[in-house]
């Protein structure tokens, strides 16, 4: 099962895909190529997302093993839950450059994917992105947001204009700024017209766009004086007066992609890429939109140019297009050799499972180089389930800290339940004696609740919410702790183990202990994986082996004598039947 299509950049490590397959379904091509190796294998390809409701419990129960080769946490959480609910063994794996890891997950026997809370993925506060960037990555994120505002799906969380609600500003500072500066063309801070409507109005004229984003909006930011008391203020740029020099030290003789552009060059690339993207957009049906793709040249050029122009304005070191591609695309290096090693390790663990020896499985970490004990591979015994895991423990409970008066139901569903707790289609009921339904997974049933605050339903400190994801067969008891304000302007905090929360509030020493002991041999950490496909082994692969075996036996007359032993003694690793397939 794989939602993706084949890209040129997959070819350096995928021996099932060739140049002529670029653009086709990964699942289908993988199936066709694999069938050439063994036409008797039964393989079914689904060009689809694994989180689709079509792949329900019944579907998962059809398999003996599920193997993950995913690239994102949301899908991993989901498959983890499906396999727990269906009680099927899951082989979880990942690679990143020279590093790799393989692990086995089985309900009740091992730690599940979510037993140890993972650190939240890095996000940046909106006001840092919009008002006060200080690192190159802030500019790259801003540029991607700008892309979506101009060409993609509009997301209110991705606004690129100056933020007058910056907590650093005193209540009226933003307002004062509005009064003292004439509102820039296109209404920098005010949202009378959406960015998209405005940019369509000016027909994507690059020069006007440039002057709004990099001159007028910056001037407007400058008027918010409190922001610049202790910061270097930004320098607005004018399209007609661009510096043609490069910031920093420029190594000579490098190739285009890795050469640092001057601001003038950035502006040229900015302008050219807008024209191309505008053309791409015009080819879509009315109301169409582009999806940012790091491997689309124009989209990548746009982000690289916009990020560097903004970096220049804020006195941040510029980056090359090559580096920005890494940052913007979350690119994880991927090579054939590491993948071959990890694939082999996955199958080795799979063979143990199919032999009924799941308790002999290991987690295995592949290091970049042999460790001080000369080990390149580090096997670790599988950890036991965390009895307090909010996913796989018999009674699931989790505590969420939030402000019930400030959080609306929609944010609660999207950010807390889906992003934070990995649910796909939750139903939520308040334990108030009446069983008030706050969220229903049935379309349209609770839509009118979306904009209301949680407190409007009677959710308060110590409220208990029963959350149920029918699709994942996952039930969770959620305890709300009301907090007026959380550290670092977080909207909410999820605490898996309530005792941790108490310990924290009492001693305020943090919650390291539990996670740390577990991480003893986990040097490679939480690896994000490059490939985003899920492979499900439908038939016992041993059968494949048996097929080949028969073939071998037929031809034995021409090869080694046929008196070869069929049953093996010293049976340490496998039941006798499967042994034949494993040892030839």
């Amino acid at each position: 099962i794989d939602l993706d299509t084949i890209d040129v950049s997959n070819l350096n490590r995928q021996f099932l895909f060739r140049k002529e397959h670029v653009g086709k379904s990964k699942a289908q091509v993988a199936k066709d190529s694999a069938l050439q190796f063994n036409p008797d294998a039964s393989i079914r390809a689904y060009h689809d997302s694994i989180t689709s409701p079509d792949y329900d419990l019944e579907f998962f129960r059809k398999f003996d093993i599920v193997m993950n080769a995913l690239d994102n946490r949301a899908a991993r959480n989901h498959v983890n839950r499906m396999c727990l609910a269906a009680d099927r063994p899951l082989i979880e794996s990942g690679t990143a450059g020279y590093l790799g890891q393989v692990s086995v997950i089985k309900k009740g026997l091992t730690e599940c994917y979510e037993c140890i809370p993972k650190p939240p993925q890095k996000t940046f506060p909106g006001c840092t992105i919009r008002n006060t960037p200080s690192e190159p990555i802030h500019c790259v994120v801003w540029a991607k947001h700008l892309f979506n505002q101009l060409f993609g799906e509009e997301d209110p969380d991705q606004d690129v204009s100056p933020d007058t609600a910056d907590p650093e500003l005193t209540a009226d500072a933003g307002q004062k700024a509005l009064e003292t500066t004439s509102a820039p063309e296109g209404n920098g801070g005010l949202k009378r017209v959406s960015t998209r409507a405005w940019v369509e109005g000016i027909q994507y004229e690059p020069q006007k766009l440039f002057n709004k984003m990099f001159r007028d909006d910056i001037k407007y930011l400058l008027s918010m004086e409190t922001l610049w008391k202790k910061r270097r203020p930004p320098t607005p740029l004018d399209w007609d007066k661009l510096p043609n020099t490069v910031d920093g030290v420029v190594p000579k003789e490098t190739i285009q992609d890795q050469r640092q552009w001057s601001v003038q060059e950035c502006a040229n690339v900015f302008s050219r890429s807008i024209r191309i993207l505008q053309g791409q957009l015009a080819e879509r049906e009315d109301g169409g939109m582009l999806v940012w793709d790091k491997d689309d040249d124009a989209a990548m050029d746009f982000v690289a140019a916009a990020a560097n122009i903004r970096a220049h304005i804020f006195g941040i070191a510029p980056k090359t297009r090559f580096d920005i591609k890494s940052m913007a695309g979350n690119i994880i290096p991927a090579i054939a050799t590491t993948n071959a090693v990890i694939a082999a390790l996955i199958v080795m663990e799979g063979l143990k499972i199919l032999n009924g020896d799941i308790e002999k499985c290991n987690s295995i970490y592949l290091n970049r180089q042999p460790n001080p004990r000369k080990k390149l591979l580090v096997p670790c015994a599988l950890d036991k389930p965390n009895p307090k895991c909010y996913v796989c423990a018999p009674t699931n409970e989790v505590t969420v800290l939030l402000n019930v008066e400030k959080m609306i139901v929609k944010t609660f569903e999207e950010k807390v339940l889906k992003t934070g707790l990995g649910m796909v289609a939750p139903d939520v009921m308040l334990e108030d004696g009446k069983g008030t339904i706050i969220i229903s997974s049935e379309e349209g049933e609770t839509e009118e609740n979306e904009e209301k605050f949680l407190s409007e339903f009677g959710v308060r400190n110590n409220s208990i919410l029963k959350c149920d994801d029918f699709q994942q067969s996952y039930e969770l008891t959620l305890i709300i702790v009301h907090k007026e304000k959380l550290e670092e302007d977080q909207e909410f905090v999820i605490v898996g183990d309530v005792s941790e929360l108490q310990a924290k509030s009492e001693t305020d020493t943090g919650t390291k202990a539990e996670g740390a002991s577990n991480g003893a041999c986990n040097q490679t950490g939480d690896i994000v994986v490059e490939e985003d496909d899920l492979m499900i082994v439908e038939d016992d692969p041993v059968e494949t082996g048996t097929q080949k075996r028969k073939l071998e036996d037929q031809d034995d007359e021409t090869g080694p004598p046929s008196a070869k032993k069929k049953k093996l003694s010293a049976d340490k690793y496998a039941s006798t039947d499967d042994d034949v397939a494993m040892v030839s």
């Binding site: 350096n12 450059g97 991927a334 050799t337 295995i364 390149l376 080949k548």
Partner: protein
Amino acid sequence: MEKTKEGLDKNNKYDRQLRLWGDHGQTALETSRVCLINATATGTEILKNLILPGIGSFTVVDSCKIQGEDVGNNFFLSKDAIGQSRAKVATELLSELNNDVTGDFVEESAESLLESNDGFFQQFTVVIATNLCERTLLKLGKCLWANNIPLLVCRCYGFIGYIRLVIREHAVIESHPDSAHEDLRLDRPFPSLVKYLDSIDLSCMNKKDHCHTPWLVVLYKYLQEYKAKHQGQIPKVYKEKNELKELIKAGIQRNDDGIMEEEENFDEAVKAVNTALIPTKVPANIEQLFEDPDCENLNAESSNFWILVRSLKEFVANEGKGALPVRGTIPDMTADSERYIQLQRIYHNQADTDVAAVSRRYHDLVQSLGLAGCISEQEIKTFCKNAAFLRLVRCRSLEEEYSPQSEKIKFQVQHLDSEDPDDVVFYVLLRAVDSFYDTHSSYPGWYADQVEADVHKLKGCLTKLYHEWGVPCNIKDDYVHEMCRYGASELHTMSAFIGGAAAQEAIKVITRQFVPINNTFIYNAMKQTSVTVEL
């Protein structure tokens, strides 16, 4: 890479790996010529992992005809090709993987090629051998050793994987160390740095400039204060470093109410005390290179690497005043761009000056040796930048390893009698298996009805080996049984693993980046463990 359509396509295709070894690594890969001896499952898996990332060309040497057994574990041989040349069919199917790679094949055994045309192997960048018997392997090893061509010996035997790298001398300039300290020279600043740092006065700055002064400057300033108090010594031990940290903290500006301002640059300076003041010195392994006879006694045969090392040595003794060339890069830090860029330039310029000095010495040496000297300034630059991380790998030859007098082996095999012995035990067993094959012309456990008999014979081979080494045999019977159980099988998953690991070693050798194994890697799939030993 060139800016043509083809170049751009290649950039895209190889994008994910360029991030690991760069364009020059990719160029090295694309101009390499790889030879595979025997298109076994392990052999073709290795080639697959080299063809996908884009080696220049490959040649398969194999005289076998495809048998049913081959089709059962090898992705690159098809059922309908049984009876055809294994070299030919594997080459055809492997070639489909990447249009940029050319492949050809020789339908001859390595054995006969070595007899008829021993110059044949000299054309390759690296030779990979699978499934060779001991006699042929040693012959091949000798031929390649004489011609200084790297050899990778790879093998999958039951649940055991084995890789041996045989390379006479392999210099790695870009070793990509896992962690490296910055090269900032605060303990012995060079004149242009001193001049710049002295021109800055923290005491007469406004608030904004004060908190945007790079930490490097801050640390330097307070280091001078510290040194003045301590007879010019820099802080070395924990207590002394703490004293300096306190000095820096005391320098943080205060507002009108006497409350400390938040100054990130000062926090960074405090943090940097531990790492930025490690004394600048030439690392021990680089000193060792300087004392190597190849460095001391240059001649017309000397490789560029050794001439560069000698130039470096002379630089250290003269212009460098005991230190390596300045690396020329500084880390990211809280600072205004103007002063950050000034600092960056100062380090960069000093690095350029040092590179020029090394380069002058290099060219003088080349001239005095009467050589042409074909090296670009860029290469000298890369060399100087990596001067602290140079690595030299000298493997032992197969001849040395297989000599019964080998002390290394004697040492390794002494401790294999424990309950859970080192995976080196499988090396010894593989050696015994080879000696078994040499005597009986078949592998132990090959025939179903002879397993028990083979166990005894294999034990005999083991005893003989140990006798030659002059060490008492200490391997448990369980292992001998296990070895016979394998019956010389080559499992595809094993081949996939070794295919990945061996190809990565080949890429290290070809790109001359990262440090290859020295010299034997053993993978135990039963326990999912591995070990790297020098044999």
